[in-house]
Point group: C2
């Protein structure tokens, strides 16, 4: 049908290409516009730099070894093979290192094992879960400090399934939960944990400030297959004021929580006394709970932040159980107007210093980031952290890109989170629709998780992480084939997709209620035989068929939408004999006729000689 | 309390700064990281270019004047002042132009008026609505082709409130609606129009393909204060097959719709015969309804797209009523795998050609864009369009940044839309949660509009458009002052924000249910007197007070969330005498006591001697 034609001339130049996020060369997209992947370097998966962005640090955790360690590279290293006290190994970038820790050293953390060239079972498991990485690459990323595996030895004895956070692995999301003095209880928190895991949370933070904190935490850890993080200062001041906080309380609390199996601690050691005046001109001062409490402590005692001065002691406690640092950003901005200001960036410099000090103690580190950041400032925030913290994974909260949409902050923030993930963040802390207004309920946890799965997944595709677009491509093929069941099966939330579809037309046809039969571009596109999509027969649409009766969850979804009466929903749920044609609810008979005509075949009411 | 301390040394360099999106120098943010504004140039408000991005075109609509026109600049121009047939004016960039149109020329479109130096009433109204632009700047942007004012003369006689689309003005959003043969009717469409206007749609497209198309269109135009767009090919094939389409039908339909008052037409003239083979390897072929219909027409008749060959005739019809072009992208990708491919970009080259030809005919032009685009490819798509279409406003659909979240595509796409807006799109066509599944209901229209208001607003702030962050800053101040009522008043959707808040704690206290009293960072931040935020007394939080009874909408919101029983919602709605303390619903008495303690004062149950 189509004549050979001269292809149109090309008037454009594509930017340099990174890798294709599809396993096979699916589709016609030229591949990712991110930089070419460089696992084993600071550029594992990276966006190209907009002019003015700081370059990555030239240092890694290898530059911050404990005192007394010796390390050699290359030929010199190879000469120490077999020498007592020396560990010699060649990494996945073909660099041979010889390491001599201090006498009698026994590795306790994943970082320490990695430094000795050991591939731990947790690293193996991580490599299994990240299809594109080998166990050795995981080890090398951990050794460089660019990846963490938050896995408290105690939690590993329960159900923890080890995972990794870092720019070489896929982008992760965290769900916050926790009882407050005003709302929520233990059972509800465990239920929220299960709900968060179901909807894809990679880690969960228990931020309880009310109820029985220890009982809640233990219950969550015992039930969690994902790493659990906490902000221990919350426990430190239960039953006392912040002013009463002292070193003994800090140590006791950290030891207790480490023993309970917490996988990572947020410690707001970066808020220093000298930073406080920088907050003065802000519109909304300090919005981090930990940050504001410690600022108050410093002002009361006229002393430097005790978390900062105690840093090495804290490291010793965390090293023993392999609790990972999530160094808190107590001065994160609480509104767009305060973003990227002197206070925030001064603290970030300190976070870099604390990263170096923790690495010297053998403790794994990730660093927390904002919060509320205008869209234009996100890339800079990510890349400045990469520089100042030498590639330690960045774990950001959102950020929100506007402040005037309370009730929708899962959306305002997942926009920022996508950009953050693309430009360098390794984990995205979710924000739910209840943010700024109250504690999230189970439904909010789901909405928050989904918004953040969108952000993380979109960032991974954008970065060209191998295989991350495969499911999108499969769904596109199912869509092209008008195979509705497969379309829903490949959806992240099949129940919602099916319920929305069946709300209009509970029959799987070769069109949908958006356009109707005659107007379905995908159907027409299939008609143009030469360009038929969805050629894979396993995708092919067969014939119109009634969808199965709605399950409970799908009924609930339709009920909450409130567009159908209870009666209509029950009809859909039970799929009675009478064809539930939409023309039933059309007012005038002329319109009804049109609708009937269009859905006749689909509903199987009349089948013509062609069988369709 | 605070000692003078040496400020910490600065270890970072900020990128070059654009302008501050706040009217006053609010807060501590250094301002936008976008380029410095250049209204009157191709860089009106622009993101900095990532390496590999095409530079803006050096041409504008001034380079595509009708045959027979003469134009002079500078001293030469000034010499024609007072000469018969010449229009001489100095624009807002201080360029003096002398224009001599063909004999007897009478301007019909905003573009033609602008070319003669005329500031129309519509341009004045646009300048009023865009606080940062003067009427002359609006005229100059229209003359350059970088801005359109879609305002059919017929619609102007009804209630149309003129607005502008272009990169010098704020980013706009469009809401699609329209009956399909399978779903929805006339009344419902008008109700959706009002709902879309209420939730901030700047323009509305009536994409009806079912029901009485003319009646629906007329009703929508008569009721709309926003410009109305259509895709006239939908009307052209009612009652006939696409194969029967001919030039006469095209003309008659366009004339009829222009006479009805449609403000802009989507015409898929960019799909050319030679592009069709480029679609062959796509995963999902052609997903534009107009594009697929015209491809079928071309294949059937073995002829070039008649919209392309008839372009000048179409221009003549549109010029008469000042209908603006929205040149359709019939080959937009239908999945990530097909984004930025040869077919899409070949069509974009044609869209540039059609832009030039329309400008020569005096017709205003915007250009439509994708669709489904991975996050990394969005900037390139925006900037390539800026180059090939010489700055004509880009009107994009989303784009979605992942394909596997049907039911949540308002979110997947508003992420892409934010990036598109920042990198150069002038209008964002919303996507609702029902996209790919069925026709949007009123609630979906609201959700789509809100997601896109978020995207447009976030982009405007990021670009540093003056004044766009003011409301965010006001809300941040209210938040800092813990002034809940003001917080809600400044919210985009106050009812939802209030309902979510009252779900946990129907008392406006100096804390919220997220953290409770003792843990409220904002409250603690206020305590640190020297850094008190929200100093403006009009923001100050007064004392705990019961919020007013929930209105109907707020009750509905809570009901749909399904976290409270009907009984609890009614209690909230009526605000009976009994304090509706949350401790009532806590199971064990110990927890209840804690909750009561924390909310005692707030509920006004007991007030101590300090009155709080």
């Amino acid at each position: 049908m189509i004549r050979a034609t001269t292809p149109p001339p090309v008037f454009y130049t594509l930017p340099p290409l990174g890798s294709n996020p599809s396993t096979e060369a699916q589709g016609t997209s030229p591949g990712s516009f991110a930089l070419r992947p460089g696992v084993g370097t600071a550029y594992a998966f990276s966006s190209p730099d907009t002019p003015g962005m700081p370059a990555p640090s030239t240092k890694t955790a290898w530059d911050f070894l404990p005192d007394g360690w010796e390390v050699l590279e290359g030929t010199e290293a190879r000469r120490h093979e077999g020498t007592h006290g020396w560990h010699v190994f060649t990494d996945s970038m073909d660099v041979t290192r010889a390491i001599c820790p201090v006498e009698g050293f026994v590795p306790s953390t994943q970082l320490e094992s990695a430094r000795l060239g050991i591939v731990t079972p947790q690293m193996r498991r991580v490599a299994e879960r990240e299809g594109h990485l080998s166990p050795e690459q995981v080890r090398d990323e951990v050794a460089a400090g660019r990846m963490v595996i938050p896995a408290n030895k105690v939690h590993l004895r329960h159900k923890l399934d080890p995972m990794a956070i870092g720019r070489a692995s896929k982008t992760k999301i965290n769900a916050n939960m926790g009882a407050s003095p005003v709302s929520s209880g233990l059972d509800e928190e465990v239920a929220k944990l299960k709900y968060a895991e179901r909807w894809g949370a990679d880690t969960v933070m228990d931020l309880s400030t009310g109820g029985d904190l220890d009982a809640t935490r233990i219950a969550i850890i015992e039930n969690a297959s994902v790493p659990i993080g906490t902000v221990p200062i919350y426990s430190m001041i239960i039953g006392r004021t912040i002013e009463e906080l002292d070193e003994r309380i800090v140590k006791d609390t950290l030891i207790s929580q480490a023993q309970q199996g917490v996988d990572y601690f947020t410690i707001h050691a970066g808020v220093r006394f000298s930073h406080i005046p920088l907050v003065r001109k802000r519109l909304i001062g300090i919005v981090s709970r930990g940050g504001s409490l410690l600022a108050k402590w410093m002002l009361t005692h006229n002393k430097e932040n005790l978390m900062y001065t105690m840093w090495e002691d804290i490291c010793d406690i965390m090293r023993e159980y392999d609790v990972t640092f999530s160094i808190g950003d107590g001065l994160r901005p609480g509104g767009l107007a305060d973003a990227t200001d002197a206070a925030q960036l001064a603290e970030l410099v300190t976070l870099g210093e604390l990263t170096e000090r923790a690495w010297r103690k053998g403790v794994q580190v990730m660093v927390e980031g904002p919060g509320h950041v205008p869209f234009d400032q996100i890339e800079y925030n990510m890349k400045l952290q990469r520089t100042l913290c030498h590639g330690a994974p960045f774990y950001v909260l959102g950020p929100l890109v506007t402040d005037i949409f309370p009730g929708y902050d899962h959306i305002t923030s997942c926009i920022g989170a996508t950009s953050a993930g693309y430009h360098g963040a390794s984990m995205l802390c979710y924000v739910t629709p209840k943010e700024h207004l109250g504690l999230p309920k189970a439904e909010d946890v789901k909405q928050g998780c989904i918004a953040y799965k969108i952000a993380a997944h979109a960032a991974d595709i954008a970065l060209g992480i191998p295989g991350t677009r495969d499911r999108d491509d499969e769904l596109t093929k199912a869509r092209a084939a008008l195979n509705w069941q497969k379309h829903f099966d490949l959806s992240f939330d099949p129940d919602t997709a099916r319920a929305y579809h069946d709300e209009d037309l509970d029959v799987d046809t070769d069109f949908c209620a958006m356009c109707g039969h005659d107007w379905c571009s995908v159907r027409i596109s299939k008609e143009i035989v030469e360009f038929a999509s969805g050629k894979d027969e396993s995708y092919d649409w067969d014939k119109p068929q009634r969808s199965a009766a709605l399950n409970k969850e799908q009924q609930d979804i339709l009920q909450k939408r409130g567009n159908l009466t209870q009666d209509q929903i029950m009809k859909l749920a039970h799929k009675g004999k009478k064809a539930d044609c939409h023309s039933d609810v059309v007012k005038d008979s002329g319109t009804a006729k049109l609708v009937q005509l269009n859905t006749l075949k689909a509903h199987g009411v009349t089948v013509n000689e062609n069988g369709l």
